[in-house]
């Protein structure tokens, strides 16, 4: 019964979405306030219906209702509760429902809290959101219905891929989707502005928080995915340039560019057309990410759908939205007025350079991701494009960007002084160079580029510090004056500096762990020891262990350093009985120097086990940096200017405009 309720709610939601897509546009076109006003309740009802469907599916999972095909395929009675819940989106059908749930949640938020938006803009935005919902609901209802029943109901389910039974992964998809779908807000606003043929700084003030929130979610989602891959897949790597990873990374790059260009638009009313284009590109990449990951074109743990009809359907959705948006852009963008002028050396100029490098780097990733698919379709040759390609293309472009990052915030709007900015950054540059020299002197091993990379990370960190120090006049004013300025500094300034500092941490982490990681693979018999990076590991043997839905063999390692005990590590191999699948659970000892990472391999002939041990220096900085960037985004988002004052001014402006009409 509950499944039927969910199915019914889903189909009702499709009907409501069609209303939400069509009527408000007609209303704004013919200036009919009643038709226009339908957008708000429609968006709210839409969200309620999808929420009913989502919770119906969740109930089926929690109660292990195996008469529902989707539950039978992806769950089992013995699975822990957390994974029963996360199992809802751990499969194709459920994940699409989650996608639409987040989409309608955002739509309902614009409907409910967007009362200070110009009416027309709000109605058009909700109509565009409605059209996206229509496309995805049609997709779900026709090809990916999660509420299909089984008759007779089996006794137990087939279980969930054990690799996915992990806390970090339980929350990785919701954050990633919130990011993808959050960019749909920027897209809807862009298309609404194009339909309207009008755009101003108030528009940017509305789009920026949405973009920022989406960007934060995506940052966290990608970090979680990387963290999961690091400890769960047992390779000790944090990023593989896998097409699926790239699919989430490209919207992030484009979204980061959008975040910065929206800043220019909000502050200086410039780069309008470019911002609109970037909003369309970012969401197009999000759609492409969904397509690549869900269509089965690529193979990975993410590719649930192998049904070709689904791939074609998502491809059609992509074609309609991307093609439609670009056509609308080509038709209407010339109507948008050009904004303020600025010199090449200025804050705007630096943000243009940021956008240029980010989008080109994103394009390089796009080429590397799609080229194998295109080549296979055209010639039948199968190739794989891996890390070497991306290091050679993405690497230099992003390094060029990172070098100029600290200059941006120190340049004034309209016309900046590069020399003055360079003088302010002198201290940061000197320290970064010193760090390079010290690292170069102490680290004999590793590539010669690595000390430069560490220096670059330090440069970013200190550049962020310089930015804040400069704004509060730390060295030019009395301490009281500096403190007063520090308190009055807008939170967005702190947020931006934090995000740039987080980027510095990520760079240091990536460089250190890539350049100076130590790896040992040995056959160890119980009682034997292994030395790595100053640690000594004593292998004490293997013990059996019984988990809730798996059996495990647990390796016991005693870790000492210079004779004194450090910790005990217990890597294991888990055999999942229902899924008939094994997973490798690595054991990690975390210290400020880095991670000691142990993986238990197969049993060999003579009672020994193959053991893989890594030492990954400073690897934690990668995820810490991601977290700092997320927090920076949050601090920025909490800036009062983004919430209270701006919309009021926007409304005053809109009312003035309405009065003038």
């Amino acid at each position: 019964m509950i499944a039927e309720t969910g199915h019914y709610a889903l189909i009702l939601a499709l009907g409501v979405a069609i209303v939400q897509m069509v009527l408000p546009v007609i209303g704004t076109r013919y200036r009919d306030p009643q038709l226009t006003a339908i957008a708000v309740p429609a968006a709210q009802l839409e969200f309620i219906l999808i929420a009913i469907a989502f919770f119906a599916l969740m109930t089926a999972y929690v109660t292990s209702d195996f008469s529902v095909l989707n539950v039978w395929q992806n769950s089992a009675a013995a699975k822990p509760m957390l994974y029963k819940i996360s199992g809802v989106w751990g499969n194709h059908e459920g994940s699409m429902i989650l996608w639409v749930l987040i989409l309608t949640l955002f739509g309902a938020a614009v409907a409910t809290f967007g009362t200070n938006l110009p009416r027309q803009l709000q109605a058009n935005v909700l109509a565009v959101q409605g059209s996206i919902a229509v496309a995805f609901l049609l997709f779900i209802v026709t090809t990916s219905n999660p509420f299909i029943r089984l008759n007779p109901a089996p006794f137990d389910g087939q279980g969930m891929n054990p690799v996915l039974q992990d806390p970090a992964l339980a929350f990785h998809p919701p954050f990633l989707y919130a990011g993808y779908v959050g960019f749909s807000m920027a897209f809807s606003f862009a298309v609404a502005a194009l339909i309207d043929g009008r755009i101003d700084a108030a528009w940017a003030r509305w789009v920026r928080p949405w973009t920022l929130a989406a960007w934060m979610c995506l940052t966290l989602g990608i970090s979680m995915g990387s963290w999961w891959a690091y400890y769960e897949l047992g390779w000790g790597g944090f990023w593989f340039w896998d097409p699926v990873e790239n699919a989430s990374f490209m919207p992030w790059l484009a979204g980061t560019a959008l975040l910065h260009s929206a800043l220019v638009m909000e502050k200086r009313d410039a780069l309008k057309v470019w911002t609109i284009l970037l909003a369309i590109i970012t969401f197009s990449l999000s759609l492409m990410g969904t397509f690549l990951v869900r269509s089965g074109v690529l193979t990975s743990v993410h590719a649930f759908a192998v049904d070709p009809a689904r791939g074609v359907f998502i491809l059609a959705i992509m074609g309609v939205f991307i093609g439609g948006a670009f056509a609308l852009f080509a038709w209407r963008a010339p109507l948008l007025s050009q904004g303020g002028l600025f010199a090449p050396i200025s804050r705007e100029g630096s943000l243009v350079l940021n956008n240029l490098l980010l989008t080109v780097a994103c394009a390089a990733v796009l080429v590397g991701t799609l080229y194998p698919l295109a080549l296979e379709a055209l010639t039948g040759d199968k190739i794989s494009v891996g890390a070497p390609f991306f290091n050679l293309t993405f690497g230099p472009l992003i390094v060029a960007l990172l070098i100029v990052v600290p200059f941006g915030p120190l340049l004034a709007w309209k016309r900046g002084d590069l020399l003055a900015a360079a003088q302010r950054l002198m201290a940061a540059a000197i320290v970064a160079l010193l760090v390079m020299v010290v690292v170069f002197a102490f680290m004999q091993k590793g590539p010669w580029l690595a000390p430069l990379g560490i220096g670059l990370g330090v440069w970013l960190l200190l550049g962020a510090v310089t930015d804040i120090a400069n704004r509060v006049k730390l060295f030019g004013a009395t301490p009281e004056e500096a403190w007063r300025r520090a308190r009055n500094l807008p939170r967005a300034a702190y947020g931006g500096a934090l995000a740039h500092a987080g980027l510095g941490l990520v760079v240091i982490g990536i460089v250190a762990t890539t350049a100076w990681r130590a790896e040992r693979i040995e056959a160890l018999a119980p009682g034997q020891t292994l030395d790595i990076a100053g640690y000594q590991l004593l292998f004490e043997g293997v013990e059996p262990h019984q988990g809730p839905n798996y059996r495990a063999r647990v390796g016991m390692f005693k870790v000492t350093r210079g004779g004194s005990p450090v910790t005990e590590l217990t890597p294991s191999k888990r055999e999942f009985t229902v899924e008939k699948n094994t997973t490798t659970e690595s054991a990690i000892h975390i210290s400020w120097r880095g991670d000691l990472y142990v993986v238990l391999g197969d049993q060999l002939k003579n009672g020994a086990y193959s053991v893989r041990v890594y030492f990954n220096p400073l690897v934690r900085l990668i995820w810490l940096g991601g977290l700092v960037m997320f927090i920076g985004g949050g601090v920025s988002l909490s800036d009062r200017r983004l919430r209270v004052g701006a919309p009021k001014r926007a409304r005053a402006k809109a009312e003035a405009a309405a009065a003038g009409e």
């Binding site: 047992g234 193979t299 090449p344 050679l392 056959a523």
Partner: protein, 154 residues
């Protein structure tokens, strides 16, 4: 600076960055792309020793031999031809005899494929699509063997 000059600077910088990117992509394309072959492809086309590529097929049943250390030898087959492989390291969880595998490495002059990376990171029903496509071509494809699935009703 006039408006025209400003535009010139902007367009010039854009072209410079784009040109740089295109150059990098073309250079990387010629240098760092890894091809995917089955054992039959290799006998047909004589890949030069030392070049990196990916080898895909099934792990031949009974061919896995573990040496004293962590070196493993096995044979990858596509039904028609087979190629011996050696690999030092920990094999992935789902590496099994008779299952699909993708190995990345170089072909030695001794005719043995030296893998430095072995991928089989999917569930037991899974077959890498490259492998599946090559096997279909060789005519040894057995279809997606999965458990009995009850009939679905709406």
């Amino acid at each position: 600076m006039t408006r025209k000059q400003r535009r010139g600077v902007l367009i010039g910088t854009s072209l410079l960055v784009l040109g740089l990117a295109v150059g990098l992509v073309l250079y990387a394309m010629s240098d760092s792309i890894v091809f995917f072959y089955s054992p039959s492809d290799l006998t047909a086309m004589h890949e030069s020793p030392g070049k990196r590529f990916r080898l895909g097929g099934l792990v031949e049943t009974g061919s896995v031999v573990r040496d004293a250390g962590t070196t493993v030898r096995f044979v990858v087959t596509d039904g028609a031809k087979a190629l011996p492989v050696t690999y030092t390291g920990v094999l992935p969880d789902l590496f099994r005899e008779g299952q699909g595998v993708v190995a990345e490495g170089t072909l030695g002059s001794d005719g043995v494929f030296h893998a430095d990376n072995v991928l089989a990171k999917h569930d037991e029903k899974y077959m890498p699509p490259e492998v599946a496509a090559k096997l279909k071509k060789q005519g040894v494809w057995k279809g997606e063997a999965s458990g009995p699935s009850p009939t679905a009703t709406n």
